[in-house]
Amino acid sequence: MRRPLLGLAIVALVAAACAPKSATSAASGSPTAQSCAVDSMNLHTPGTLTIATGNPAYLPWYGGKSVAGSDWKSSSYTGDPHTGQGYESAFAYALAQQMGFTKDQVEWLGIPFGKSFAPGPKDFDFAMQQISITPKRAQAVDFSDGYYDVNQALIADNGSPAIGVTTLAGLKDLKLGAPVGTTSLQVIQDVVQPTVEPAVYPDLDTALKDLKNGQIDGVVVDFPDAFYGYADQIVGQFPPIGGQQEQFGLAFEKGNTLVSCVNQAIAALKSNGTLQQLEDTWLQTDPSVPVFS
């Protein structure tokens, strides 16, 4: 009987080795009691605001030339979050300043999109990646208040059958594409309801490649993205899904008390006109682009 006992001893050892890490209970304390001074906020790294976003980071959300030592590479389509240029980068620094951080106290972390909502402790304070707020998503993360009202638009190259279409019905038989997991894709599925299955890409880059290759008739993007020369023409804007205005929010780990401090700062930036000013500076718009009817 010695052998089985030895085996069980090993099992016990393994189990012990897998014992839970010292529980970092993130959800503690009530938001109202939270003081929003830099020293007392619930931060991943004390004294630093760690913001996660994608890499590459695209214009017009992130711009400027890469700074030395940065993981982000700038090009004619991409930028570096560290520069404070581009809407989200500028918003991040304005937000940090409003919360009492200096520019040097802001750290950026490049993550794949899935990491912004994977369960468990995060290695950043919040994710800022043009994430649209939806009720389903709010089950997995806590969202800040919206910081940008976004619409979706269709872009296409000259010669595509999409050019000149003004109605949703006219889009039904076209092969449209969008990056995976975006509300752009949901717009195709829920608003256009096409007869042809939409093409879904890992990211905007690959979707645009297929557009250039003529494999799809058009790509649906966030409206401000439509002005960056990705395609020849902006065909039109979409009415919002279910008639509800789509908004971008910052994504936090569930129960993170930092949300209330961030919301205070967003409210302040809204009321003093900073957000509007950032929009005017960084995001192009064109009221003459028709809305599909």
């Binding site: 369960p119 089950q139 879904v200 490649k209 297929d210």
Partner: protein, 299 residues
Amino acid sequence: MAEPSPEVSFPKGGPGDPRVPPGGGSRRPRILGGDASQRNVWIAVASTVIFFGFLTIVIVRSPGWPEVKQSFFNGQEFKESFPLILRKFVRNIQIFCVAEVMVLAFALFLAVLRSLPGPVFTPLRILSGAYTDLFRGIPTILVIFLLGYGMPALNLQGIPDSDFFWAIFALVLVYSAYVAEVYRAGIQSIHGSQTAAARSLGLSRWQSMRYVILPQAVRRVIPPLLNDFIGLQKDSALVAFLGVTEGFQQATIIQQSDFNFTPFVALALVYIVFTIPQARLVDRMIARDQRRRQAGATL
């Protein structure tokens, strides 16, 4: 036609044959019966229950379990995503069925090229060898990306620009390299005396390959072939990166729009249900093959 054993020098099946275990051919491990083995069964059951019990407790009592359960094992999410994923998995089945048939043919061609005897065929052997080296050396995902986005960009007349086509094409290129090696191992495992015998009967080099070597070689490599095909079936998920909405892409769509990982668990389940019976089949074929070889001369 009785299959001649390659090792002709053995007194087959007789007492001098080292392949036949003493005490006769059919020897099976006794599982039941006898006090000692009954006790062993109980020990096996107990240790299994304790082991998995421990594992379950460790997982379920971990501090993050409620979140993991909500994100990965969400019943509602599973119910909604499973039918969608299953429907898109049909696309995977199409992809790997077409790819498998093409791989079978193309890889055999490569293997025969590489096994051609005679100095005249050296360039063909080199080509075939270089091909297998190249495509066994490049990650499948890279081949899929390079072909899928590169070829249509050439804008050449007659080159298809369907993602579906290039996905299959890339998988066939990569898996043919592996399967060609499997075939080649099979061809090489046929003893040289077989060729000699076929040639002495007046068959040409090609005829002896076609009628004597290949039938034996292919039969021998069916289990490893099936193994490679299971690999191919799993890699059919990679074509998602070309914009083909198959099972994995469908799971990713739901995951990113709902911020929930349960669709991946659902897809994993679909794969398991699909591949495990094949793995068992391979095991059984290997066992049958072994029995047949042990039986040796009785054929």
